[in-house]
Structures are given as C-alpha cells and as structure tokens.
C-alpha cells in the first residue's frame, strides 16, 4: 500500500511538471510548404468515431478497404476506435487534445472544429487538397454546401473534410393522403392549408416539427433573412428581425389553431407519426429507419419552401478532422489520405449505400450503383434528400469568448418554445434570445 502511495505522489509531482512545461511546448507556427507525401516506414494511425451498430460495420468496411488498397500501397494502416456517442467522442477528443494523446484523425461536428482550432493542433488541409500528386482532383464534384461548410473557418481554409451527412425532408402518411385525396404540400402556404383540412377531418394535429431549432434557422433563411455568420454575428436580429418574426408568427398561428405541434413530451415525432397521431412532419433523413416499419406507407417529399428564390434546407452531420499534435509528418499525411478516401467516390458510395447517410458527391448520386441501391432498399430519403442539394445550407459554426454557435442554437430553440408554450410574442422572444447572448 505504502509503495503504491509513494509512487502515486511521485507521479503527481510529475504531472504538475508536465503541466507546466506543456505551455512552453506550444505548437510552433506551421510551415505550410513542407508537407510530406510519401511514407517510407509503415505508419499506423487511429480514427476515432461515434458510429455504432450498422454504421460501425460500414466504418469497419471502409477501413478494411482502405487498408488493403491505398493503405497497403502507401504504407498506412488505419485503426478505427469507437468512442461512444457523439458527446462522449467530443469529451474524449477534448481530453486527449489537452494531454497530447489525440488521434491523427477523428469525426467532428463543425462546432467542435471551431473549438479544437484553439488548440493549434488542427491541420489545415489546403496544401494537401491542392497538391499536384496527392491532391483531390475532382474536388468540385463534392456538393458545394459541404465544401463551404468545411472551409468556413478563419481565412477560408479547409480544416476538415465531409463524412456523414443528412438533411431534412417532409415525411407524410401516404395512405391517409391518398384515401382523402390530399395533395402533398410543397410550400408553407400549402402546409397550412392541408393542415387545416386534416384537422377538420380528424380533429387531430396535422403537422409537426421534429427539430424546433432547425425550423427557426431554416425559416429565417427561407423568409429572406440570415441566421448568423461564421464570425458569430447574430444576423437574424438585424433589420428589425423581420424574417425571424415571420417564422415565429407562422408557427404560432398554426400551433394556436391546433394544426401544428412540436415534439414536446414525446421527444421525437416518430412515435406519434407511427401511431397516426399526426400525419406529416419535417425531420432528419437520418431518422427514417425509425419510421420505415410503419403499418402504412410513408411518403417522403422535399422540405416545403416559401419561394424558389430563397429556397433553403439545412444539411447536417459530422466531418473528419486531422490533428498533428505529437504526430510525424508521415502520420499527418496518412490521416489526410484516409480523409480523402472517406470523401472519395468509392468511399462515399460505400458509406451512403450501407448507412442512412446521404452522398456528398454529385457523381455518387447519379451513379448507377447508387440509383440501383435506392430502388432495392426502397429508401426515398436517399433520392429526395440529395435532390434538395441546390437549397442546402449549414448553420455557421464559431467559438467566441462570450458565446459559441451552440449557445445561439439553444437560444433559438428557447425562443421557439417560449412563443409556442409560454405565449410570449415573437418580438419579445427574439429580444430575449439576443439578450441571453450578451
């Protein structure tokens, strides 16, 4: 026991030494020109992810394919490590970044990348992407919104590459719509109209919004406003917050009439939808598997719009980020190669046909392999989702001392709930949201 205690206290002394010296070891300015693009001695890198179940199987397949082809050729072995759910992965990556044990590559939401950038260990990928020999030649094939999202950070540089992506669609009860001769709405006016009809027919709530914050962000955009930018300016509150007010008023009007609802106590709308307690809702394509086994045929339609000019539908999901903390240049290059593979035609085709996530490349969407898969799997989110690509936008990610993009999202959600549940006026809800971010 005593021996153990002694070694413990010694080790404790050691940590404080390490902790002190880590400050002097701050990463030197990166020399951009000197990237390594060949590997002499084999390297093994870890890939941290949060993909469980069938998604995990797909990740393992991707890794196997990579290791046996590109990896074998270039002396790279990738080891996938499952690190729990997203929040766990974030915690673990943060802890690892603080103690110098972060992996070469990890899955990350754009919000997280904005935070990780403070560590000085996130690798800028432009020199690799633009390299003559190892660059990504068909980079423009990647859907524009994904390219923008991954280069939204300071200086417009790429600090990540897209990986698993989803978007929102309108789910509806096709059987019910057919039986009652209802037309599937494409605009919000039509959603209101159809909702009124359904309410008249059934006395039930007709339509729901699975993610209240997404509704706010998307509708601000659709009403011709802007939500935030990557610098963290609260744009939806500017110019009298016209778009934001309209978005909240539309929601309030319909909730008060008993036509629309939020998930509230049910948490997700998939349950009530399956049990025919409502007949349509907007939700993530990633959630389709939860309603695929419904007793009725589920219809999938594009997100309703206000007008074509301001068409907007949110795209979401994680990217992969490369770290150079305590890593050799070879390891960093190896990580880039794997990231490149994940975003390549082969990698993305495999992943988007084995999981519920959507293609990130135009060429994948239009490929025969993908189209055949959609017919076989009968999963219409895989067609309807990417069809909206021209309207894709992302909610900007940033980290500021006063607040981060996460706080703005939470404030937006609270604004929506205050209007719907607390009877607060849209003006006041927006004002409260802005004030909470000061």
């Amino acid at each position: 026991m005593k021996k153990l205690m002694l070694s413990l206290s010694l080790a404790a002394g050691l940590t404080s030494l390490v902790a002190c010296s880590s400050k002097d070891n701050k990463q030197p300015e990166k020399e951009k020109s000197e990237i390594v693009t060949t590997i002499e001695n084999p390297v093994t890198i870890e890939f941290w992810h949060a993909m469980a179940g069938t998604n995990q199987e797909a990740v393992e397949k991707l890794v196997e394919n990579f290791n046996s082809t590109i990896g074998a050729e270039k002396n790279i072995t990738v080891k996938p490590v499952y690190q729990g759910q997203y929040t766990d992965l974030k915690t673990k990556t943060t802890a690892a970044l603080k103690s110098g044990s972060v992996p070469a590559i990890a899955q990350a939401y754009p919000d997280w990348v904005a935070e990780y950038l403070q560590s000085g260990s996130v690798v800028e990928l432009d020199p690799y992407i633009n390299d003559e020999t190892v660059g990504i030649k068909d980079f423009d094939d990647i859907i524009e919104s994904y390219r923008e999202e991954n280069s939204q950070y300071e200086g417009g540089k790429f600090y990540s590459l897209p990986f698993n992506k989803s978007t929102e669609v309108l789910y509806y009860n096709k059987k019910f719509f057919d039986e009652n001769g209802l037309k599937v709405p494409t605009t919000w006016d039509e959603v209101e109209e159809v909702s009124a009809k359904i309410h008249e027919l059934t006395g039930k709530t007709a339509f729901g919004i699975d993610a209240p914050a997404n509704y706010f962000i998307t509708m601000v955009q659709q009403y011709g406003g802007e939500y935030t930018n990557s610098q963290g300016d609260i744009l939806f509150a500017e110019d009298g917050a016209k778009a934001a007010k309209e978005a909240l008023e539309l929601l309030k009007r319909n909730v008060d009439a008993g036509y629309w609802r939020l998930p509230g106590e049910d948490k997700y709308l998939s349950g009530p939808f399956m049990s025919e307690l409502l007949y349509m809702y907007t939700g993530s394509t990633a959630g389709y598997s939860h309603i695929a086994t419904a007793d009725f045929e589920v219809g999938i339609a594009p997100m309703p719009q206000i007008s074509d000019k301001t068409g907007a539908v949110i795209q979401q999901g994680t990217n992969v980020v490369v770290f150079d903390q305590n890593k050799s240049k070879e390891e960093v290059y190896a990580a880039y190669e794997f990231a490149k593979y994940l975003a390549s035609y082969e990698g993305n085709l495999l992943f988007s046909t084995e999981t519920s996530y959507l293609p990130i490349r135009e060429s994948v969407v239009s490929s025969d392999a993908y189209q055949n898969y959609v017919v076989e799997s009968n999963d219409q989110t895989k067609i309807v989702g990417p069809e909206q690509a021209k309207y894709y936008f992302y909610d900007p990610s940033f980290y500021k001392d006063a607040y981060s993009s996460y706080n703005v999202r939470m404030a937006a959600e609270k604004a929506v709930e205050s209007v719907v549940l607390n009877g607060v006026s849209p003006e006041q809800a927006i004002e409260e949201a802005v004030n909470s971010l000061k």
Partner: protein, 305 residues
C-alpha cells in the same frame, strides 16, 4: 525520539493522536488530493478569467467579470430558484416517505426481505428505462397520473409541456428517485439500534409513538443527519433526472434548469469553461455555508452515544 523524556504526557498523546489520525487518513488524503483537489483547483482558476483557452490552459482578463456574468444570468438565477424548491420540498418529503417505508420493513413482518429487495430494484434498473417510464406516466394524454387525476374531475395537466408545471413533474420524479437509496440507508440505521432499548421500553409498557420519538428518532439522528446533508447536496446536483425526463433539455423553455445542469451545459455544451468554473465556485461556496450550518446544528440535534 531522544527528547521523549522532555515531553509531558499530554504532549505525547497529542503527537500520537496526530500521527495515527493522519496515518489512517493518508490513503483518502492522497487520492483526494490527486483526483479531486488538484483538478478542482485547476478548474476553479478558470473562473477568474474573462477569456480562457481550455486547450492550452491560458486565460486572460483576470478578475471577477465571469462571476458577475453568471450571477446575473437569468438561467443561473432560474437554476438557483429551482434548486431551492427541490431542497425545500423534495428533500423532506422523500425523507419522510423513506423513513416510513423503512419502519414498515423493519416492523418484523415476514416478507420483509422480499419487499426490501423490491424497494431496492430502482437502484439497479436502467436509468433509460426509468426515464421512459416517467415521461410516459406524466404524458398529458396517455399518462396514468392524468388518468388517475381525471377520476376526480381534474383536467389533463401538461406536466412536461407547460413550463410552469414541468418543475413539479421534476420534483415528483426526484422524490421517487431518491427513495431507494434513502430506504437502504434508513434500514441500515435502524439495524444499528441496540434492541435492548426496545426490550426495555416494552417492559415499561411505553406506547409505540413514544418509543418512536424517544428511542428510534434520537438513535436514528446520525442517519437522518447524514441523509439531510447528502440530500441537500444531491439537490444541487440534480441533472440525470432532468436529462431523463426531458430528453436532454432543461425542460420546456429552460424551465427546469438546475445548478449542475447549468454547469454541465456551460462546460460540455457551449464549452464556456470559465463560466462553468465560476458557477462551480459559487455552488461550492453555497454548499460550504449550508453544510457548515448543518454541522453546527447537528451538535445540538444529533445524538451519538
């Protein structure tokens, strides 16, 4: 030990008491210093900066600005308010119910062991299952609670949707979720009471309620003291219940914000670590004061042998 002879007996005892006292406490002190105090100091210091880079542990703007932010943040004030309600309502109610059940279990009935095992089961039940069941019980349309109240003509209550009612749902859930633990502790406290006292009382023909107030309660007071302090502390830490009931949100329109939920959200959600740290320090001071008062009161009210 050369100058042993120079020391008076009293001093010798003092030295021995100090030496042995610290020796037995050593493992606790070492582990606590390394794994609680050290990280605590490291995280507390973040609270004194206006800006903090968690990855490089560098802060700037040393001062109390972050404390001012937290103390004036409506979300934090709401959290304090809610915690106050939980302390004042949930703690005593749950203690009284737990004590009653423990007394019944301890009253010498035959199936006592069987019931005791059942009352312990929530402790091993999946937290997720508990969350689902309670969100269902509170459901405005299908929940048993509203159906039960409906029998008395009460209109359906929007327990989980209405920001004004949600805190009551949380308090009810909190009372329930604390029971299993409190029952176990009360039982082991009752177990510790020397049966001689009861035999003596029986011979004297003391009425039962008097046995309870004159023997059981005083002899149980160390347990009551323990549960009061730990339950009050636990009230500040209510987090899992909020998470389970509202699916990862602090209630409708943030109405069920609690102090530790606030800290977690600042730390893990928005990564405003310095604000999380400042809130932790405030919480630490509050708990220190409350615990100090309880310790002082205990000198009068708690009966050790």
């Amino acid at each position: 030990m050369k100058n042993k002879t120079n020391l008076s007996n009293a001093t010798k005892t003092t030295i021995k008491q100090n030496f042995l006292g610290y020796l037995y406490l050593l493992p606790t002190l070492v582990i606590t210093l390394i794994f609680v105090v050290y990280p605590l100091i490291m995280s507390f210091r973040m609270g004194f900066y206006e800006r903090y880079n968690y990855y490089t542990d560098e802060g700037s703007g040393f001062g109390l600005a972050t404390f001012k932010f937290v103390l004036t943040d409506p979300n934090f004030q709401k959290a304090l308010m809610n915690t106050f309600l939980i302390v004042v309502i949930a703690v005593p109610v749950s203690m009284i119910i737990a004590l009653a059940i423990a007394l019944l279990l301890n009253s010498g009935i035959k199936a006592s062991k069987f019931f005791q095992a059942i009352y312990f089961l929530p402790y091993v039940t999946s937290v997720i299952a508990i969350g689902i069941v309670w969100s269902w019980l509170f459901h405005s349309d299908f929940g048993y609670i509203n159906q039960f109240l409906g029998m008395f003509g009460v209109d359906p209550i929007q327990w989980l949707n209405d920001p004004k009612m949600a805190i009551w749902a949380l308090i009810i859930f909190n009372i329930w979720s604390g029971l299993a633990f409190k029952i176990v502790i009360f039982l082991s406290g009752l177990q510790n009471i020397d049966p001689q006292y009861y035999k003596a009382a029986q011979i004297d023909g003391t009425p039962k309620w008097k046995v309870f107030t004159r023997i059981t309660l005083p002899l149980l007071s160390p347990t009551v003291f323990f549960l009061t302090i730990t339950s009050v502390i636990a009230s500040f830490k209510v987090y899992n219940e909020v998470f389970a009931l509202f699916g990862g949100k602090p209630g409708p329109a943030n109405s069920c914000m609690t102090v530790v939920y606030y800290i977690y959200d600042m730390f893990y959600g928005s990564s405003q670590v310095h604000k999380a740290a400042a809130a932790s320090i405030i919480l630490f001071i509050i708990i220190l004061i409350i615990t100090g008062i309880q310790m002082l009161l205990s000198k009068k009210l708690v009966h050790y042998k």
